[in-house]
């Protein structure tokens, strides 16, 4: 009995060692720098789009400017996903490529493209939210809670 458990333990140890040798070693500073650069650059592009929109139409309200900015960012990111450019960015960028709104768009588009083979209704339409679902669901639930709490505390305007 004890011999058996010892054998299992030894096997687990061997396996863990094997996993360690196979896992690719990423240098943490390099990964951090890459996500910093890619994420920062994405935000700078977003700021640039907003500034250009403001230049073209100075009277536009700020809310609309940010709406247009996010629409352009999302559209470009999804086009990049379709053309296969986004994979190149994501391989280098790590968190820098999935944390900005462009990563949200890429997750949506890549899931919907991947399941195209299963049909437009049961593939694409079903899987569209399979990756971003947690974000959308949690966002709606907790923002509603935030709205209700604020209403309770501050009252109507």
């Amino acid at each position: 009995m004890s011999q058996n458990t010892n054998a299992v333990k030894a096997r687990n140890e061997r396996y863990n060692k094997y996993v360690e040798t196979v896992t690719p070693k990423t240098s943490i500073p390099k990964a951090l720098f890459h996500s910093f650069a890619v994420g920062g650059l994405t935000c700078v592009i977003g700021q640039g789009i907003g500034d250009i929109v403001k230049l073209i139409s100075p009277t536009m309200p700020n809310d609309m400017v940010s709406n247009i900015t996010s629409m352009i960012l999302v559209t470009v990111a999804i086009l990049f996903t379709g053309l296969g450019f986004f994979d190149v960015i994501a391989r280098q960028g790590g968190a820098g490529s999935f944390l900005p709104i462009t990563g949200f768009a890429n997750a949506m588009a890549s899931a919907s493209m991947e399941f195209k083979t299963e049909g437009l209704i049961f593939g694409t339409s079903v899987k569209l939210f399979s990756v971003v679902g947690p974000v959308v669901v949690n966002g709606i639930v907790w923002s509603t809670v935030a709205g209700l709490i604020n209403l309770l505390i501050l009252g109507m305007k």
């Binding site: 943490i28 951090l32 890459h34 996500s35 910093f36 890619v38 994420g39 920062g40 994405t42 935000c43 700078v44 977003g46 700021q47 640039g48 907003g50 709406n67 900015t69 996010s70 629409m71 960012l73 999302v74 999804i78 086009l79 379709g82 296969g84 790590g94 968190a95 820098g96 999935f98 944390l99 900005p100 709104i101 462009t102 990563g103 949200f104 768009a105 949506m108 588009a109 919907s112 493209m113 195209k116 437009l120 694409t124 569209l128 990756v131 947690p134 974000v135 949690n138 966002g139 709606i140 923002s143 935030a146 709205g147 209700l148 709490i149 604020n150 209403l151 501050l154 109507m156 305007k157």
Partner: protein, 124 residues
Amino acid sequence: MEILQNIATYAIVFATGGALCAIAELLVVRTKLTPARILVIFLIAGIILESVGVYDYIFKVCQAGISVPIVGFGAALAKGSIEMARSVGFLGAFAGGLVRTAYGVGAAVVMSYIVTLVFNPRTK
């Protein structure tokens, strides 16, 4: 003078946006959190920042550095919900978040569908 100010703004945008992504990357490397969990954590952080009322002050300084990462999405959801709850009433809390973020989410869904129709997935 204005050019200098613009350069400063862009530097702050780059620094804050990059810093947020570096924190997320540190979470990926150091803990076993999956990207989806990290996205939800940052999203809820944005909702909390907005409902406490701090987000607007951060946004004035950091601009796109905080609004382009998912934190800004959470803040927009919370802002819409809070504003509509306070102007329409109790029912507004349920609609406000979606109304405010509808432009981005709508564009993402429609564009994803079109891109799926046009392009075929490539094998990696």
